[in-house]
Amino acid sequence: MSSRETLFGIPAPDWADPAMQRRMRRRHGGTHRLRWLGIAAITGAIGLLLLLLVSIFSIGYSAFTQTVVTIDAPVAAEFIDADDITESNWNRMARAAIATLFPDDAAGVRDPDYREVLSRGGYNVIRNTLRDRVIANPELVGETLRITVQTADPFDQLAKGLVRRDTPEDRRRVNNRQIAFYDMLVEEGRIERRLNFWLLTNTDNRFPEMAGLAGALRGSAFALMVCFLISFPMGIATAVYLEEFAPKNWATDLIEVNINNLAAVPSIVFGLLGLAVFLNFFGLPRSAPLVGGMVLALMTLPTIIIATRAALKAVPPSIREGALGIGASPVQVMTHHVLPLAMPGILTGTIIGLAQALGETAPLLLIGMNTFITDVPEDVFSKSTALPTQIYIWFDSPERGFVSRTAAAIMVLLGFLLFMNAAAIFLRARLERRW
């Protein structure tokens, strides 16, 4: 067989030829290499995703606990204004409480080294706690109150082993004297690591150990609510119109082309739109979740429209024909039969669209949702941040402690996204009907 004749002068492959055998090995090796190239590429991509998750988790997890100091604060009668308890000298009381922690060698209450162990925001916490509790219950005068406050970030890091003691003192963020003080507090049982609920219940703060996401979460919730309230009904209405009622003419084509192109417009352009139209032209309030939600709604709209149209298309024509056949009007067919059947698909698309909106940052930066705000927004008009813009603010802050906070906030954001996408997948799997 290796001695094949040559037909019409066309050479036949001579498989027995050693050169040909080498060639065959090389050709088969090509397939082998192509397969491994693909495996390597996919492994690389998944590896990068894992690297991203692992690096964020490894930085962020430490922010989910917080080191606290417990203070036994004496409510001494000398600070209390007997006539009007609200006029008592709470500042001095707080200073005295802090002084109880300090060892004997402290240079007074204002000892610069020792003061730095407590969070700089902790002073206000102590004063306000004392004030509120004593005013609420004047019988506490003369007793001691147990108050816990966050340590300053370097000592939180020290407790977590992230600031290492074996680093030379001049390159360490805490000096030896402070470490000695810290160790004394540990020995006295005053240092504790707690689950950091403040991360979710506090608002933004200049001090990383005090900062939390409460305002950002509420802001994101408001913005998403506005986004949903606008994009959901408008998206469904548009999709229903285009899919079921629109005449086939140039105007309809224009709308369709428009929607497809809107889906690809960079998000920052929507931010420019929000800035120029909503803020500058209509004079809506800056940094407000209302405006954020409106901008996000415009971005989410194409997603919802496209998902809704797909869901409407999936409803078989037989159902429409059946309903029309028994005398229902087109609007009745739509509202009574087609829309309810398409609803799971629409909801799935909506959730995915909202998840995208939740992670969107750039347009919110342009409408000023990245301001430093220490209040939880009361309504959609209040100044507020949102979860992704809060992440950006923390990312942009110079304090070291914000690095792990940023990662922790990203974990919170990813958690929400995971939940929303899981809900969408669940909806799709459980409710979507196949015909």
Binding site: L34, L37, I46, L229, V269, V277, L366
Partner: protein, 488 residues
Amino acid sequence: MTRIPTTRIIVTALLLTIGIFIAWSLLGPWPTVILTLLSGLGWLIGLTRIRGAAQHASTGARPHSLMGYYATYVALWTGLPSFLFLLAWVFLQGPVIEQLLIASLPAASAGDLTPSQISLLISEIRNVAAGRIFSEPEPYVLEAAERYGRWVAISGQMKLAAIAAVALLGLSLSASRITMAFRARQGVERIVNVLLLVSSTLAILTTIGIVASLAFEAFRFFERVPVTEFLFGLSWEPQIAIREDQVASAGAFGAVPVFAGTILISGIAILFATLIGLPSAIYLSEFAGERQRNIIKPILEVLSGVPTIVYGFFAVLVISPAIRTFFGGTLGLETSPQSALAAGLVMGVMIVPFVSSLSDDAISAVPQAMRDGSIALGATRAETMLQVLLPAALPGIVGGMLLAVSRAIGETMIVVMAAGIIASLTINPLDSVTTVTVQIVTLLIGDTEFDNPKTLSAFGLGLFLFIFTLGLNVIALQIVQRYREQYE
């Protein structure tokens, strides 16, 4: 009375709640209450009137439509026009009062003040009116603030009266049309149709809004800075000095370095995404079994679902230091901490799914007959893939890559966090460059005044960004479309 399906009650309740919510958050409590009550009243009146008509009609005669349609008809005509009226009022109230205020200020209306001074003055007046007084205001400001507060109050009262009037007018007009023969269902459905049509124009309005706002502000920018300087100038220093005598007080607006930086970073991104995405697509379409595909594809899709701010953080915290260690430390090359390479690589990771999914689709769309033809000639799988299937799928792959490029150019957060701010003209990927989106964010972050070239230049950049990405998309979609048609 016939039983109404539960789902319909739930859906109606949901729609009503959404409507009231929108009204409440946009228009405030009182108008919402008035609108809701009057619409409810309209509903009742509609129902009563058709019931009455039916009782007086001869026995056996029935109204044209179901009773509920008459009630809904009146309710819609009561609520909708006044709602729209109210919406217009709310949006126009601010600008109108502001104009009145400017007109009432002698200094402002006389043209002695620049626009920025006027807006400063206006915001001061607003602050004073809201009780936020920081220093002792001038007497005329106090006076204006008092005027402002009075006008806002008057506007509020007039608004309530006006919407009540519009609602009642709609109610009486529509209620008067109700007779046995009136086709209420068609009436309601016509309104529904119009509502659907109106919402579908929102997409158009958005586009118009984008184009108009970008073009308008960009035009104002090009009045100050010539288009030619913007497009061909080699120096980008938009910082406007606070004092006149500062160096470079005029700023420089040559956008070439910015465009070049954008192209450099997007180029790195698309190169990386193709290196990863194309072999992945080949593997998925040629070598992976059904089960592998069902696992790998969604995992790859996750890459484009991760918010870009997360990628930005990742770039700064992991990739940039790694690149510096490798190129700067190991190879001893000068590496910027904000190298274009780091931003580009991470952006590339983000757009991998674009390339891999669209390439996979394109390869899979090549007819099986092509594959069979090649295999039957004694080609190996690699030869079939690289010499027959890939060339056949090339238009689809190119289309997908163009979409990815458009996405990369418009991407903001990764570059805002990981790329530089200073515009430098270089093709060295280890240098720091800036991009269009970075400049837009940098120029517009914080309080912005719409009257200096610095702010307006962001809109100039935005306009070109919009035009460029839109163009890329249109071309890409056409290529993909034509490719699909070829094999259908």
